[in-house]
């Protein structure tokens, strides 16, 4: 048995360490591969959303490289993710692949759910305690990796020599692919953090702060969002990403375990605009996070989502109101496989320049 799974940002680092620990044979599809993306696009329905096409491409690559088991799942929400599983299986079967599909419930990803689905894969069986500790380590690693990337955002916009932070992250990604198990991965994260801390920074820099909101796959996947965080950082802007894999874990793993569900701050903040707590996917958090960031003082916000994403279109229709009420510019970027990088960069540059000018004007007035 050989397992494969699709990419979502940097989740593979934690997942790889988890599968190493459980001693499961696996194949990681190439990261940032245009080839797998093209495979996905060619075999997907035209109007299906970008994440689906990316996921399909990764799985085809996996199956081409000898994998016979797919680890993915489905959600329970109002977004199309709930039906990825059905469609993926249909399409892959039509293409002639034969495989076993492990269907995790992403919405309530409890320990019990993970145990039920993973146990059959482990020929020797595994004690509850060991699985529990391995899954906990994976969760911790996801948080640590996301933390590392957001730290890199903070360094990138202030570094004296452009490219220092990028270099540290690139080296991290290269070595993470070869790392085995949690301890090696954790050491690597520590070393990279250390390296980032020693990047010479311009202490006087006061970068514009740009919040990133929108669809979670695009927000957290640098390949599909055309390295949004990196691009903004290299333009001298501090990117604050509200949607990352750890955010998913917090909402659908940790809160699934908690006996009492805490009221969500973002959902409450969104009530000014949407009188409901759910509009599918993470749409309500898009609105809520935009409102919260405006209150905390942010220079600008970028909403990013794949073309035809239903929850985000609903969210977008009220973001104009958020923008007017708070006097904070919000730009929407809609991506699909036809998006050209140059046009994308131009839009980002124009947005960052505009925010910089706004900021300078306010400063010169108050100073």
């Amino acid at each position: 048995m050989k397992l494969t799974f699709p990419h979502m940002g940097n989740t593979y680092i934690a997942l790889k360490a988890l599968l190493d620990t459980l001693q499961v044979d696996y194949y990681v599809p190439p990261t940032g591969s245009r080839e797998s993306f093209e495979l996905g696009i060619a075999n997907s329905p035209e109007f299906m959303c970008l994440p689906f096409k990316k996921v399909l491409g990764d799985l085809i690559q996996g199956l081409n490289h000898g994998a016979d088991t797919i680890l993915f799942g489905n959600s329970r929400g109002q977004c199309r993710l709930s039906h990825y599983g059905d469609l993926l299986q249909n399409i892959l079967h039509d293409m002639g692949y034969r495989f076993h599909y492990i269907n995790l419930n992403f919405r309530d990803l409890t320990y019990g759910e993970i145990r039920n689905k993973l146990e059959p894969l482990l020929p020797g069986g595994i004690s509850r305690a060991r699985l529990f500790s391995a899954v906990s380590s994976a969760v911790k690693t996801i948080f640590a990796v996301d933390d590392l990337y957001s730290e890199a955002c903070g360094v990138r916009c202030r570094e004296c020599r452009r490219g220092d932070a990028d270099l540290a992250i690139r080296r991290f990604e290269q070595r993470a692919k070869a790392a085995k198990g949690f301890s090696q991965t954790r050491r690597l994260i520590r070393e990279t953090k250390d390296r980032l801390a020693h990047v010479p920074a311009n202490g006087a820099a006061d970068p514009v702060k740009i919040g990133i909101i929108g669809e979670i796959f695009l927000c957290s996947d640098p390949f599909t969002n055309l390295e949004l965080e990196k691009k903004l950082g290299n333009m001298g802007a501090l990117a604050v990403n509200t949607m990352s894999t750890s955010e998913w874990i917090r909402r659908h793993f940790i809160s699934a375990i908690l006996p009492i569900k805490p009221k969500d701050k973002a959902v409450r903040a969104a009530q000014n605009y949407m009188h409901t707590d759910y509009i599918g996917g993470h749409g309500i958090y898009t609105i809520g996070n935009a409102e919260l960031m405006c209150r905390d003082g942010i220079d600008g916000i970028i909403q990013i989502y794949p073309f035809t994403c239903m929850p985000e279109i609903t969210a977008k229709s009220v973001l104009n109101e958020v923008q007017l009420q708070n006097n904070v510019p919000i730009m929407t970027l809609i991506l699909d496989e036809m998006t050209a990088e140059t046009g994308y960069i131009t839009r980002l540059e124009a947005f960052v320049d505009m925010l910089q000018m706004r900021k300078d004007r306010v400063r010169s007035r108050s100073g």
Partner: protein, 324 residues
Amino acid sequence: MKSHHGAEPSKLKVIGIPEGLMIFEQKQLWKKFFESLGCHAVCSGHTTKRIMNSGIELCCNETCLPVKAFTGHAASLCGKADCIFIPRYSSVCSHEKSCPKFCGLPDEVRISLNNKTKFLEIDIDFNRDSKKTQKSLDLLAGELGRSPKTVRDAFDSIVKPGLAAEVSPNRSCSYEPGAPVLAVLGHPYMIFDRLLSMNLIGKLQDAGYRVMTPYDVRRSVRRKNVAPFLSDSFFETGLDMLGGAQALVNLPELAGMVYLSSFACGIDSLVLEIIEHKIRNGRRIPFLKITIDEHSGEAGFDTRIEAFLDMLPNTESIRREKIV
């Protein structure tokens, strides 16, 4: 306040009902509901060019054609009614869900219309939380100046049984035995709306076909015909399409299927793929999918339909055989 209502002591209101999206099928229910509460209900009527254009102007441009039409319907009611009623359809029964755009529709329209008028809403979310409906009904009762119990009773007796009606109000009444059948699939507020569908059904009927839609099949049959899926719920219109297509595909007189979809419809992207997968692996009947948005020209649309009809094999002989 209109003069003929002036004599009434209660907070009687003229309620505007936009005839689009899910209300397209259920306007009679809501009309009866409000009339039973002593209100006067005004419907926005058929979609017109004017309604369509004002909707396109008001909406955020990424949203789909039917939502734009709906916003146009709502805008056309401003000034004609004291308030506009927009139900929040999240799910009409358990294990079914609506398009996410319906969940935010009341807010979306309110903001698009710049809070120009008052809005009434009812939460319908029977899959996740049916208590929400009760709460929103109580709020509505306060707005209308009625007792919560009257409003709840009216909802339970008039609206609730019709939300997931066994027989659709849009079923076709004509039945000519023998004529070759074309199945038209698509969301009810698309295919039965003459303007949005560019009179697709009429055009196919004029060409001598009997048109059947999933809404000619009873709801329970539509549900029974859906193959099992992984998630615990599915899109309501998606189920109608999947089950309807499965029921219709076995008709011996079936000559072809036409799927009318609005540009960038999320649900259709999914459902179409499943239906096509079925047709590829089952009875291979001619299948045409047409995607339209506000920029679609009618001439190009007609050409595609004509080309499809010309391509259908032997329908002429089928028709002759049946008549003889």
